[in-house]
Amino acid sequence: MSEILDRARAQVLSTGRGLDEASILEVLQTPDEDLPELLQLAHDVRMKWCGPEVEVEGIVSLKTGGCPEDCHFCSQSGLFASPVRSIWLDIPSLVEAARQTAATGATEFCIVAAVRGPDKRLMDQMREGVKAIKAAVDIQVAASLGMLTQEQVDELVEMGVHRYNHNLETCESFFPNVVTTHTWDERWGTLKMVRDSGMEVCCGGILGLGETIEQRAEFAAQLAELDPHEVPMNFLNPRPGTPLGDQPVVEGKDALRAIAAFRLAMPKTILRYAGGREITLGDLGTRDGLLGGINAVIVGNYLTTLGRPATDDLALLEDLKMPVKALSATL
């Protein structure tokens, strides 16, 4: 075993203390021949500090398209020639989506809106939607509505939203290459307010935006400093009409290295498979990631693209003898 894996085993597996940026970079440079050992170590860390359960989540777009921001990966920006049109989901359809998500065994349902931050109309829609879901479906409600004011944070807490997603997307040094309409610090500010409110913090990003390996390590270290409850790991699925529409897809082995590295940086977090895993990793790679540090999945479709059928992921979890986390365990 390589020296970095020896050190990671001694530190992360034994003490639960994550790797620093320099060590994360070493992990990201693990040669192919050591990849199976790296994944096994990340899996051992996950099993020791998180256990065998997998948290299952569904997501839905409440307000699609027409976003005023210029996140270069996003087909929902109104600033690019993307074919995605603006549309709102009505409350009965939102509740039905939550019901169908719960039927898969999922304990989390995240309501997402393509906005810079919520306006009164969106907050009113959220209030009505969360209330209707809680009255009809046994599932935890999370939200992702962009940058918040303190008043909006307080409103979401009062509604009963238990987790808030706001991705930093990439490391601070690369962020200006990806977004120019707001700053990394503005996102960090919302995350601090969410943390202080008592809501759980969900914060991750997208790999494959053009960042270097060094910047991937920087990102993992910055997330570890934030110490979120959950880190969703997306891999760029290049969208037609966006500035990153021709960006190459992350190599499968690099994606697996990143999964393991993020696990070794954050041994106790919920590390979730999110968008892009289908094209980056395929079926076999999806399995490898679940045996390499991942302990949560988004099942079914994403916001504007489609995912694997939930039944495929649930069958895989059963095959791997990884129980789906029960709702009672999340309350």
Partner: protein
Amino acid sequence: MTTFCDRCGEQAAEGDHTACASARELEPPRFCPQCRRRMKVQVVPTGWTATCVEHGTRSS
């Protein structure tokens, strides 16, 4: 009637749409295949609906 590629919106009979067909396995349609208007598409965890103002709604 399919006249236009429902992913890229170009003439279905012109050019190679093999990549579009492959991508469509993990994407909903975006363009009406009859008139190439951009459709309003709602994706939910278990499916999608796509509505053309002229030619109505299709779903998964």
